[in-house]
């Protein structure tokens, strides 16, 4: 008899215990890891082959218990309960045994085939501790494997254990978590009732689990059993008599039992094997970073440092790439005969794509910083420091994490809002996320700040990011006051120990961000640039108000050859190019929408750039690249976009333009994710409209105020 040798396995465990790290090691995937709770918010799948078995692995979001209620925790719960994987690998942070084993007791009660993985063994050992795995395994009735997710230690043993259980045919452990005698009696009575309802169908362990869940008052299980009125009535009365006699609610009573069991287990298996002088690094670092007075200024300083470095250090490689792009542009110009093809290549493709690609170093640097925040453990600290302000706007500190992640990209950041329990707070966090300036907007700032605010560009960029945060907070405050009244969640958030980011994974992460960016550039941005080029090149014949050829003749005849004549000719050619550009399709569109931006001082080119930026914010820069490349056809030397754009706007207009770019509607991908996460077209439209409205108003204010200051 041939048996299918494929099995499905779920990785479950507390938040931040290293599930994704292990998943990546097992499958070779590169899912996001980070040293804070709630990194993984959807389930991820991968496969690995071992000893002839195909193992489908599911990485789940972390959860403290199977009765937890946030969106991402429900993903884990529902997967385990409803999709019944063949086996659950329960990953336990061994440095935090007691709390992690709480979920384990629940998994044991569910009677699922289980392998327990004691992860973070390196940290346990460095504290001079040792776990007696053999006893541990006997007491829980499961296989137990020690791992170090960081290094991949224990990978083979874990796979062996999985295959061993698969070959033995997935029977489950026979142990029981014992409760207080009153509780046991209540469980037994309820269980008998269940057994009567489904005679012979429900195994003993399964009915015990159902009984416990009913006594706990688990709303999902109650809903699932709602046909059995009598059973529910029995459970309810058992529950209330328990609560009455013990003076505590039933979930607490059950948790007492579980933790009692865990405590005994840990006592027997965890030993201090050698003395170490405990120097708690985390505590010491926190004395500085969470200092009551210095904490916030330090946080702001780190933010400032991030943008300053992104700008200044990124400048050098950026100039090299820029030089390369100019060289390529010149080479193509000389190599090809004059004509449409050359124009398309030089102005459309090299101008558009080259305009944006030079920002690769800045983007990679930005992600380096963000990855540092995410992997050291500072993320949760930032949320802790900012809680006071978040409280002021009716959210809580945890909602700051998705906001901070928005500096990288709004799409995963909006998904990270799943960690927020209250649906209204979650919606609010989603709606304000687009105001957090993502990496795609950075090129616009670097370009314009570099041209118009050369000396303090880094500070201008930092100021823009800060503006984004302030607008997000202001918007949240207004919405909370008007539309979203109600209670916030409790602010219960784990502060993980500080960990050194693994160099390898940081480098891989940056590499991936670079590849992602290059893919975007060679995909949507390339296509966009070509479309823009065509729109600004056609129709070829336009009615001009001046007979430029005649005018040229006139100048050549009337003026003596010399510098004055050359200048006049150049000015004439520029005027012609400008008028032609304005009369072609793109110019027509630009002039149609330009009145909207007139009060902000943007010309039609700026208006067009903002319009195309709806697709993805990088296209703002590409559009400038195409438009300014073709605008100055006078000199044959190609100039960098920076040079071409110098003087094209007043500094206050450039500032207003950056503010508008910062605040107006995010890219299409963000809109799609807002739609998906809110499940509402109405809120999606609201989000777009709010962004546009606020962007316009803020830019209007900026242009007026800045005119007075600059």
């Amino acid at each position: 008899m041939s048996r299918s040798k494929a099995i499905t396995i779920a990785l479950a465990g507390n938040p931040n215990c290293g599930k994704t790290t292990i998943f990546n090691h097992l499958t070779g995937a590169r899912q996001r890891v980070g040293n804070f709770t709630g990194v993984t918010v959807t389930r991820k799948e991968g496969t690995v082959s071992h000893k002839g078995w195909t193992i489908n692995l599911i990485d789940l979001p972390g959860t403290y218990s199977l009765s937890s209620k946030t969106v991402e925790e429900r993903v884990a719960r529902e997967y385990i309960l409803d999709e019944a994987p063949d086996l659950v690998v329960d990953i336990v942070d061994a440095g935090n045994l007691e709390r992690n084993l709480f979920l384990t007791t629940q998994l044991i009660e569910m009677d699922l085939p289980l392998v327990i993985t004691l992860n973070m063994m390196d940290e346990v050992r460095s504290q001079g501790m040792e776990i007696d795995t053999k006893t541990f395994s006997q007491l829980l009735g499961t296989l137990v494997v020690e791992t170090v997710g960081r290094t991949g230690e224990g990978r083979e043993e874990l796979l062996d254990a999985i295959v061993q259980i698969a070959e033995e045919g997935f029977h489950s452990q026979q142990i029981r978590v014992p409760y207080d005698s009153h509780v046991e009696e209540a469980i037994e009575r309820t269980r008998e009732h269940i057994a009567q309802l489904h005679p012979g169908q429900v195994e003993e362990q399964r009915s015990r689990w159902l009984a416990i869940k009913l006594l706990e008052g688990d709303s999902d299980v109650l809903a699932q059993e709602h046909d059995h009125r009598e059973l529910i009535a029995v459970a309810k009365s058992e529950q209330s008599s328990l609560e009455e006699s013990h003076g505590e609610d039933s979930p607490t009573l059950l948790a007492d039992g579980r933790y009692g069991f865990i405590h005994g287990l840990v006592q027997e298996t965890l030993q201090q094997s050698r003395p170490v002088r405990t120097q708690n690094m985390t505590r010491r670092i926190d004395q500085l970073l969470l200092n009551r007075i210095l904490g916030l200024p330090l946080f702001l300083f780190f933010m400032w440092l991030m943008f300053q470095t992104t700008f200044t250090v990124g400048q050098y490689p950026m100039e090299w790439i820029d030089a390369g792009v100019s060289w390529l542009s010149d080479a193509v110009t000389t190599a090809l005969p004059e004509g449409m093809v050359r124009d398309l290549l030089v102005d459309g493709i090299i101008g558009g794509v080259g305009g944006i690609i030079i920002f690769l170093p800045n983007i990679v640097l930005l992600f380096l910083f963000i990855s540092f925040f995410e992997n050291t453990g500072y993320m949760a600290r930032a949320a802790f420091l900012m809680d006071h302000f978040m409280h002021g706007i009716g959210l809580h500190g945890k909602a700051f994490i998705p906001l901070l992640m928005g500096f990288g990209c709004n799409v995963p950041a909006i998904m990270a809002a799943r960690t927020i329990e209250s649906p209204r707070d979650r919606l609010l966090t989603i709606l304000i996320n687009p105001f957090m300036s993502c990496s795609a907007r950075l090129p616009v700032y670097v370009l314009l700040a570099g041209i118009f605010f050369t000396d303090y560009a880094g500070t201008v960029v930092f100021g823009l990011y800060l503006t984004g945060v302030l607008v997000a907070m202001g918007a949240a405050w207004m919405m909370k006051k008007t539309m979203f009244r109600g209670l916030s969640d409790p602010f219960v958030m784990e502060l993980p120990p500080y960990r050194l980011p693994a160099a390898r994974s940081v480098i891989i992460h940056m590499w991936e961000k670079a590849v992602e960016f290059l893919k975007k550039v060679s995909g949507i941005i390339l296509v966009g640039s070509i479309i823009i080029w065509f729109l600004q090149a056609f129709p070829q014949d336009v009615d001009l108000t001046v007979d430029y050829a005649a005018e040229q003749n006139r100048i050549e005849q009337q003026m003596d050859t010399g510098e004055a004549q050359e200048q006049a000719l150049a000015a004439l050619a520029n005027a012609q190019a400008a008028e032609e550009q304005e009369k072609r399709y793109l110019g027509q569109i630009g002039r149609t929408i330009q009145p909207i931006f007139e009060p902000l001082g943007f010309d039609w080119k700026g208006s067009i750039a903002l319009l195309t930026g709806f697709v993805a914010k990088e296209i703002v820069v590409s559009t400038f690249g195409v438009l300014y490349n073709t605008g100055g056809e006078v000199d044959e030397e190609s100039v960098t976009l920076r040079e071409a754009m110098a003087g094209s706007m007043a500094p206050e207009v450039a500032l207003a333009f950056m503010v508008f770019t910062l605040l107006y509607m995010p890219c299409l991908a963000t809109i799609a994710v807002i739609r998906r996460e809110t499940q509402s077209a109405g809120w999606t439209i609201f989000s777009i409209a709010m962004g546009l409205g606020i962007a316009w108003i803020m830019a209007w204010i900026v242009v007026r105020v800045a005119r007075l200051v600059i």
């Binding site: 403290y64 709480f102 969470l290 009551r292 916030l296 420091l385 006071h388």
Partner: protein
């Protein structure tokens, strides 16, 4: 002597007696190991005095003072 967790000063610790207030908070804390008898110590204080971080069962967790007031400890 009984006191609320919010009344403890940094560096002090107490043993949990009970958690009052709404279910949501109690349930979340219970599953995270806030059980009768557990030792809870005060660690860091955020700017403006709220929230604070506490250590329990060898890990650290944040709580706002309004929430810590619901937690009664024996000191």
């Amino acid at each position: 002597m009984e006191a609320t967790l919010a009344a403890l000063k940094p560096g002090e610790q107490g043993a949990l007696v009970r958690i009052q207030g709404e279910n949501r908070l109690r349930q979340r804390l219970t599953e995270m190991g806030f059980i009768k008898g557990s030792t809870i110590g005060v660690d860091s204080t955020a700017p403006f005095g709220d929230p604070r971080s506490y250590s329990i069962r060898g890990y650290q967790v944040t709580l706002r003072n309004a929430e810590a007031e619901q937690i009664i400890v024996e000191i």
